[in-house]
Symmetry: C2
Amino acid sequence: MNVRARQKAATQASILQAALEIFSEKGFDGASTREIAAHAGVHHALIKYHFTSKDALWRAAVTFLFQRQAAELSLPAPNDPAHASYRDFARAVIRAVVLYSARHPEHARLMVQESVRDSERFRWAADEFIVQTRQAAEAFILLCQREGILPKVSVPALAYIFVGAAQLFYTLAPEVRRVWGIDPSDPEVIEAHAEALTAVLVR
Amino acid sequence: MNVRARQKAATQASILQAALEIFSEKGFDGASTREIAAHAGVHHALIKYHFTSKDALWRAAVTFLFQRQAAELSLPAPNDPAHASYRDFARAVIRAVVLYSARHPEHARLMVQESVRDSERFRWAADEFIVQTRQAAEAFILLCQREGILPKVSVPALAYIFVGAAQLFYTLAPEVRRVWGIDPSDPEVIEAHAEALTAVLVR
DNA sequence: TGTTACGTTATGCATTTGCATAATGAAATG
DNA sequence: CATTTCATTATGCAAATGCATAACGTAACA
């Protein structure tokens, strides 16, 4: 790779990284491209050059989030010999989701900022990515219900119960720190949360 | 109350109502006072006149939310004769929290927008209001643990599991509608969610 | 080594923003 | 009925915003 190509990739990466941070903390309207550029340490005109527009940058950030999620959150198959039982499999899935939420809290933050209202941007993300997440969540819940691990109640409700219970602790990390005096980025705290969620969900 | 006082109260109420909606959907930075004024159907200069500044308007909105919550979410006492058992009491609390989250989704939306980062505004809200919520949540969880209703795991984790599981379904109502094809404002759907959460939490 | 390609920077512009100040007009008051 | 009070409106302003355009400088290449 060239010097120029390397530099170009580095610039794009730093812009994307800054975009994730600012968008996730302030939402699309609250974030300014100049603030993102300053945070990335580049000239603001480079955002237009590399990402065309603020809207396109936001979509690039969302695409990055879901691609990384797909890569990192490769859930093990239910019949994987690594699991002694479906119950163990369910525990592994819950733990994996909690660890992902803890590792990348900006994912849930950025999405929740946009999913509280029905914008064009939100609809694009929903159709492009969230629909797939629904499939996985639904399949997992149905399996757990069949095996008697989860109660046989509303599947959509269970889906948001699961996800909400897994991510709010990290989405609201500043609140957890200030009001409860504990740090949701501490590995031990994360383990305790995963254990708690497993105890609540797996019967 | 004379004509002027009545009109003044009506103006303030409509501004506050609009502020709740715009702040909860766009966050503090993303919301503009002119948009709030337009949404309330009043001249934008009235916001400064009645609420001094954008920041003060935000704090008035948050104050309103928590005061209304305190009024509407008056949790029944554990030893109230209306409850046959602590288990029934726990079910009543869970149902009440779910119904409140469904009735006023803007509360969680507005707070989550500000609680994802450690701003001065957030710290004020945390110290002024959220600390009290913590007390109630902690007491409720400890009671449930003593009675064998909830597993004896991390209390802060359980608190965010409970709240996250109760409110995400309504915070992300547009997502639920688009991706799952159901309406989180439908009373039957709300009942199903309350039932699901109760089934998951109460053992 | 001279030229080109292209990542980067400088600058401009119309619009939006929060806030300030002065003007207005009708209800309240005596 | 004259006057005052005060909720409301009109207008201004500096700063910030997204985006456009042109200049710049150096790595890449023939």
